[in-house]
Structure formats: C-alpha cells, structure tokens
Symmetry: C2
Subunit: 321 residues, 2 copies
C-alpha cells in the first residue's frame, strides 16, 4: 500500500465538526474557530516498549488509548473535543493490518466524542511511536487550570482509582485475551468528557486529569495554586478487588498507578452541589476525598490515614509530617 492509498483509507467520508474548512488533503488543515470560544490543544506521545508492549495491548487498544490520553487532557481543561492529528512511526515488520487496526482504535474512540481526524504523518522507523495532537473548544475564559484551587475548596475525584494499574497487573499475570473489567479499563480508558462539559457553566473549578497517579496530580495542583491539599486515604474511591490485596500494592496502584484518566478537582463548598448535579446528570461517580488548606511553607499534599498525617510526594512515596 503506497502513501496515497493509505491516506485514502484513513480519510473520513465526512466531518462531524462543522468548523472544519479543510481536513486531510492539502499542506495543512484549515478550521474556523467559533467566536466566543478559546481553543485548547495538547499533544501526547506513546512509544512501544516504553509506554506499552504488544504483549499487553493489541494495535486497536494502542490507538484507542493514545487518543484517550489526549482526550483526557482536553477534559481536564473543561473543553469540548473537536479534532485530532496523528503522526505514526511504523516499523517495517508491522503489517498493513496492524497499522489499520491502530487507526480503527482511534476512529472508534473519536466517534464517541464527535472528533475528526484532520491530518498527520506516517513514516517508517525502527520503533513504533505514535504522537497525537488534539484540539477542542471551551467558552471564552472558562478553561480549567491547575492554579484555580482555593483555600476551603472541596477536593474530589471521579470514578475509581487504581483500576488501570491493577488491570495491567492482571494482564501481566494472565495475558491480554482475558475478559476482565480492570483489563478493559487499562486497554480502553474512558476520559471524563461529559462530566467536564457539564461543569462548563461553573465560574471556577480546578481540574487535572489523573494520568500519572493521584499523588502526582494533587501535587501539581498544590504547587500551581500555592495551597496544601489534604486527602483522606479512607475516602479514596477504590474497588473491593484492590482492597483485597496487601496495603502496599493497594497504595501503589491507587496513589501512583497511572492512566486511570479520571479527573481530580477542587471546587468551593458552595458549588459542591453543582458538581454532584453534573455527576448525576452524566452518570459519573464523584467522591469528595479531601479539602484545600492554606499552605504553611511549600505547597504540598497531606495524606490522612488512621489518624496519621503523612506528606505525599509526587511519586506516591509517603513520609511522616
């Protein structure tokens, strides 16, 4: 298959987004941003043997998940996904079918969020690499930053934490053909787009997506906002299957297990009912897991557990205050 018939095979027959003036087929794509909206854009790269192995992910899952990681960044900004661009470096020993399956995984996930493929590049190389750039829109001035947490805010998380890391653990133990909800969470994560969209009317909400574990993301919010975040370990939303394991594994998966692609957020006590309403409206589990405190010295994250207060580092390491 030459370059041109390949491009033909991945080109959409029509575009869902009416703001696309020209998608694939020229030197660049052309879009007409809607007045009154800011544009959000992010880029994420996945490399074989670094971010995934073919032993645990099919090409379809790779495509599905690399788009998930990008869409999750858009959700964390509170925005509506719109387009994506894909650059792939493909090793010579990959088949045409494997390459097409990656695109199928991306296209299926894109369809769920009304996104369109507007361009990219496919080149050969020694190691598989995929870079996706995504684009979305948010009402002017309503992008959600990590710096927007304020003293007194409630801290909340969507869904369950640690599922993806536990799924990977099961995958390595049992192999990728296993039908299991944790494995599915790992291979086909669902970014929290509808929930983030339902929050758009709120004047202020701080959001960060959980791609590197809640320990890392909570620290990012604390540092960007100049506040302390207090998390009650017992309040973290964790499934019983994970709690059945040793506390060490449980903590590892929940605090620093990456790629849950849930949202971590903070909001004023007054607006907390609106978070709950958005959660109900979009069928999203949301749990209050802590509060925002004024920062004493350096902004940090405190994990409260069994009456102990420990400092939670970015990497998930805890030490007594």
């Amino acid at each position: 298959m030459d370059e041109f018939s390949f491009i033909d095979s991945i080109m959409q027959k029509y575009y869902r987004q009416s703001s696309i003036i020209k998608g694939i087929g020229d030197d660049a794509a052309v879009v007409r941003p809607v007045n009154g909206f800011d544009m959000i854009t992010a880029s994420d790269t996945m490399v074989e043997d670094i971010h995934f192995r073919l032993a645990t992910m099919t090409p379809y899952h790779i495509g599905y998940r690399v788009l998930a990681a990008n869409i999750s960044d858009l959700a964390a900004m509170g925005c509506d996904p719109a387009y994506y661009m894909v650059s792939i470096v493909i090793p010579k020993d990959w088949s045409k079918q494997q390459l097409q399956e990656i695109y199928a995984g991306m296209q299926d996930h894109a369809r769920e969020h009304q996104m369109d493929l507007i361009g990219g590049d496919t080149v050969s190389g020694h190691q598989f690499v995929v870079t996706v750039t995504v684009y979305g829109y948010v009402p002017k001035g309503y992008a959600r930053y990590r710096s927007q947490a304020r003293e007194g805010d409630y801290v909340f998380a969507t869904g369950y934490l640690g599922d993806s890391a536990y799924g990977l653990h099961l995958l390595l133990e049992r192999g990728k053909s296993t039908d299991n909800p944790f494995i599915k969470r790992h291979q086909m994560p669902q970014p929290r787009v509808p929930f983030a969209q339902a929050l758009q009317p709120l004047k202020r909400v701080c959001l960060n997506d959980i791609s590197d574990g809640i320990a890392s993301e909570a620290n990012e919010i604390a540092q960007a906002s100049g506040i302390d975040i207090e998390i009650n370990f017992g309040d973290l939303p964790v499934r019983p299957e994970i709690k059945d394991h040793t506390l060490k594994d449980h903590k590892k998966w929940v605090l620093s297990g990456g790629e849950d692609f849930e949202l971590l957020g903070t909001v004023s006590e007054d607006d907390w009912p609106r978070i709950q309403a958005a959660a109900e409206q979009t069928n999203t589990k949301v749990t209050k897991i802590g509060t925002v405190k004024p920062s004493t010295e350096n902004p940090c994250v405190i994990l409260c557990s069994d009456g102990r207060r420990e400092k939670l580092s970015k990497s998930g390491y805890v030490h007594l205050q």
Copy 2:
C-alpha cells in the same frame, strides 16, 4: 536533568503572540483565535536514519529544519505562523546538550517568524523521532489550496530549485563542517513566509510548498485542480553550479530533489504583476516557469524541453507524450 527542570529550560520567558492565554504548564495550551481569521494547523515528523543522519546534520540543524518543514506548510497555505508544539523521542545515548541544541535550533528559527512554543512531550526510546505541530492564522476564506489552479494561470516558483539536494550531495562528499551555501540551504532552509504573507490580499492564488521536489508538487496541483501544468524546463530557476553537472544529476536534483521549501504557485495572468510586486517587496526571487492548460484526460504535468513534450511523473521520471 529531570522532566520538570527540562521543561523549565525550554519554557519561554514571555510569549510573542498575544493570542496565547496559557502556553506550557497545564494539561493543554489555551489560545484565543482572532475573530475574522481561520486557523491553519499541520504536523510533520522526522526520524533519524530515515530523514537525516547525524553525519550530515548537527542537532541544531535537525531542530532548525524540522521547524522549517512545518513552517513551509504554513507558508503554502498563505498564513501567518503563530505557535508550535514539539514531541521528541530521545535515545538514552543522546546527551543533555544534544537535546538542548535541538531546541535551540527550533527556538532560533521560531524567533524569525514570531512563533511561540506552547507545549509537547519528551519521552525516551531507541530511535530519535521529532514531531512538530504548527499553528497559524490566515484571513477568513483566504487559505491557499492546491485545488485553486485555473486554466490560463501562470505557473511560478520562488528561489532556486535543487539547492538542498545538491547541498546534501556535497555534504555526503565533504562532511558537515564544510562552509558552503548549498550545504547551508540543506541544513537551514528558509520557508517563504514573508512572500506568502505579501500575497494575502490576492483573491486567488494556488500554492504548494516544494518539500518532495517540483515534479511531485506540480502533480499534486494538477490532480487537485483537475488541470494540466506545462513547465518549461529551460525556465526553471537553477544555479550555474548545478547546471555544471551531468543533465541526469541536474534533473534529479531540480525535479525530484526534496526539501528546497520553495513555493510553487499558479495565478491569473492579470494578477501576475501583483506576484512580482510581492516578490520585490519581500526580496524574493520569483520566476514564471510555465502555464496551466485545460486537462485532456487525466490531469498531468508536461515538461517542455528542447521542443520535446514529456510527461513528468510524481517521482520525477519523464516519458515521451
């Protein structure tokens, strides 16, 4: 150097583009598109040992050139460059200094076009890969497409053709430390941004950038516009140093030598003086090299040389009509 101090080292102290609301530092970048403009975006990937070798390019040149390839796509759409995003896969044996030199090459080139770095990703891998995504703006409805060539148009090219391919030939012969204008053209190509910008008031002009050789780009225009393009081989702008070589080498470099990043365009006879005025205003060499003809059967490119009319294929291969 950890991820965070690295990000710190590449973060700009200020942004030149006032439309940037949030650059590097959150889950995604936020920009506020100016009303009355369309946004242009493109992505281009370069892989070590496929697109370049460290034997012929320094890390600085790699950075400079990957941005050039992307900016050239923006120029071919007639637009003003604005931002860029960089994803790099870096092998473990590359030094911190080499990585920083790549960014220095990009930053120096970005400064020439008032562009800002707004995000990206840096991950490790076995083979060096860099993907750049660029963003720019063009007055609403004024993007320049390959499909805009019309019967009777003049066909023109900027600068000189074949310089970059000849530069690579010299590099392979002499090594990368040689001080030579052709080698410089290969390592630090200059996309035709000012000229493309000066054409913005024109109602219609067809543009394509010469990244894969004029044979390929002219065929793209012919196919997209449904017309034939007639090129006079003797009119092609070629430097005497190239003409001194065998006709076979000369043709190879000029017709299918890639990465000159000049512009190939077509415009009505009436507007040709305005092309010449834009060229003069921006100190750009522009040469009329042919005309657009109605298509007989399948749109194609005809090369006229010494009274012969030959069909010029995408790859630069010619055969008698």
